[in-house]
């Protein structure tokens, strides 16, 4: 079984999620035999091969083209299809990031391949690819198999570990591409979050606030604790719906599903759809005034009390720990 893995990069930087997908690909190839090819897309990306070198690929394809500088569903899809053909791969593996979740279905349609989205487990059983993926916002887990090949598989970020491994020096090959007239929907501008803000799906620590914060003005308490823990700020649906916080911070079924090492929920009661979005966190801490709040049923550690009083004390204590 040959596998092609797309290693996501943005603005000349490899994203960790891309290396996670590569490591997962290595494990599958080791189990079944075959060749693992890493695909890098961008413009002026020669330098990125160094980072990918020790991560388990047998071959690295460099797709270097001005039209690949910024993400384009059409140009990236055409390039991926070219690379699939060239590498004679049966599985196209990528990370289920915002980019991966957009590219995967388009690539599947172009390759006339089955699609397995946002998988949290992937293994070969008797030569067949079998995956698990959360459905209904993580409230149920579905097991699926690829009934035919090729297949496109996207992996949920922060689930698969990055494993450095010793394989023979990968071959490096530049892809010849013709992308003339391919792009109709063109990315013309990108904008980073102010202050390089960390996204809840990428952070090791997420501190989320809910209605228990009582006012949008009190969210600085959440931001300060998140900063002290070098984590990201999250929010419950009610505070997003009333406009206290941006939608990009919403954790839950109609927001983002997160799996950080540490999740702190302050002033969040724990509606079903919120629990669905954070239950796969490694350690959960809940702070809530109501000892009967459902959030305590999933939390490893709970403090019963007012988030507005507890948060500043907790932030100070974390800072003291650092020193």
């Amino acid at each position: 079984m040959n596998i092609l893995t797309y290693i996501e990069s943005r603005e000349g930087k490899i994203r960790v999620a891309g290396l996670e997908a590569l490591s997962a690909g290595r494990r599958l190839v080791d189990a079944a035999g075959g060749k693992l090819t890493a695909l890098l897309l961008g413009s002026g990306i020669d330098g990125l091969t160094e980072i990918v070198r020790g991560c388990g690929a047998d071959a690295i394809y460099l797709a270097d083209h001005p039209d690949l500088a910024l993400y384009s569903p059409e140009a990236y899809c055409k390039t991926a299809a070219t690379a699939m053909l060239k590498s004679n791969a049966q599985i196209f593996l990528l990370s289920a990031t915002a980019l991966g979740r957009d590219l995967a279905p388009l690539a599947a349609a172009k390759l006339d391949a089955g699609l397995l989205t946002d998988c949290t487990e992937a293994a070969l059983e008797n030569g067949q690819l079998v995956v698990k993926r959360p459905v209904y916002g993580g409230r149920l887990i579905m097991t699926l198999a690829a009934a035919s090949l090729p297949v496109v598989v996207s992996l949920r970020p922060k689930i698969f570990p990055v494993v450095k491994c010793e394989v023979a020096e990968p071959t490096i090959e530049k892809l010849t591409l013709n992308l003339d007239g391919v792009i109709r929907a063109r990315c013309v501008e990108t904008k980073a979050e102010a202050g390089g803000k960390l996204d809840v799906t990428e952070a090791d620590v997420v501190v989320s606030g809910g209605r228990g914060l009582r006012s949008p003005d009190n969210f600085h308490l959440i931001e300060e604790l998140a900063a002290a823990l070098r984590g990201a700020v999250g929010a419950s649906r009610p505070v997003v719906d009333i406009g206290w916080r941006p939608h990009s911070e919403q954790v839950g079924q109609t927001g983002k599903v997160v799996s950080p090492t540490l999740y702190i929920a302050a002033g969040i009661s724990g509606a079903i759809q919120h629990l669905a979005g954070m239950s796969s966190s490694k350690v959960i801490v809940a702070i809530n005034k109501d000892p009967e709040a459902p959030i305590f049923k999933v939390a490893d550690y709970g403090i019963v009390g007012d988030a507005l009083e507890i948060l500043p004390v907790l932030t100070q204590a974390v800072k003291a720990l650092e020193r």
């Binding site: 915002a98 397995l116 097991t143 990315c187």
Partner: protein
């Protein structure tokens, strides 16, 4: 009506007037999904959820898609047609969209057993040849959470797509759209026709008006049959996720903070 700047000449009082009239032909893809607050049970076959006692609603992301379709109609003129693929239940999604203000509705009757590719092909077949200038869909449905049908449908229609859009503008022939990624946002430009999938934040969906509800009840819904297709993926089983055990209440109020930190460092080893 075909897309692009339609320049029309209107003959009034012995003179020709050049009126820049756009009149867009707008499609919206909708589906029914279980209410996100519903308690889910796995069916006896262990492959799908038990549908009894579940309140089905218009998929939340499709509400943004319908709203956008209605706003474009109000801005440019034209018609908004909603499409839903599924069995009889799909009609409920269509009636919800009609009640919000859609003009026409098409039920694409599913033969069952379609995977994402099969669904997208069925939708594309129903949309093909109707000259839509823009097609809106929700970014994903809240049941299988794939987010695949929108981009795949665009592929089969040979039109570009932009997914998970949070901000959208159109001058009648070109669009600009913003989508978010981890730690940033990207702006796309694209000519019509295009398929857009809606992310929360794109707009604030309206409530159905009484007039809309009356209209939706008596409006005739067109019916087309979708072709069966061999699925390329197979569902093996459905499970509940591992149950998290409730942990310990460390204490009450600020006095519990030192104890919490100690547990996070020494027991959980996360600090």
């Amino acid at each position: 009506m075909q897309f692009a700047d339609l320049k029309r000449y209107v003959y009034i009082n012995h003179k020709y007037f050049n009126i820049r009239e756009v009149l867009l032909n707008i499609a919206v893809l909708v589906k029914l999904a279980p209410d996100t607050e519903a308690a889910l049970k796995i069916d006896a076959d262990r492959l799908k959820i038990a549908t009894v006692d579940i309140n089905y609603v218009l998929n939340p992301y499709d509400e943004y898609a319908v709203e956008e379709g209605l706003r474009w109609k109000e801005k440019f003129g034209g018609t908004t047609t909603v499409f839903s693929l599924g069995r009889e239940e799909a009609v409920k999604a269509l009636r919800n969209a009609l009640a919000m203000g859609a003009d026409e509705a098409v039920h694409i009757v599913s033969p069952g057993g379609l995977d994402m590719l099969g669904k997208a092909k069925a939708l594309a077949a129903a949309l093909q040849g109707r000259g839509f200038d823009v097609i809106f869909a929700g970014k994903q449905s809240v049941d299988d959470d794939c987010g695949a049908v929108g981009p795949m449908t665009a592929y089969y229609l040979s039109i570009p797509h932009i997914s998970t859009v949070v901000k959208l503008d159109c001058d009648g022939s070109r669009i600009t759209a913003w989508r978010e990624f981890e730690g940033g946002a990207e702006k796309f430009e694209c000519p019509l026709p295009v398929l857009i999938t809606a992310q929360k934040g794109l707009n604030e969906p309206r409530y159905a008006s009484l007039k809309g509800i009356m209209f939706s009840k008596k409006k005739e819904i067109a019916v087309v049959e979708a072709a069966p297709a061999q699925a390329k993926i197979e569902i093996l089983k459905l499970n509940y996720p591992p149950v998290r055990q409730a942990g310990k209440i460390v204490g009450q109020g600020v006095e519990a903070v030192p104890k919490l930190l100690q547990l996070l460092r020494e027991e959980a080893k996360v600090l």
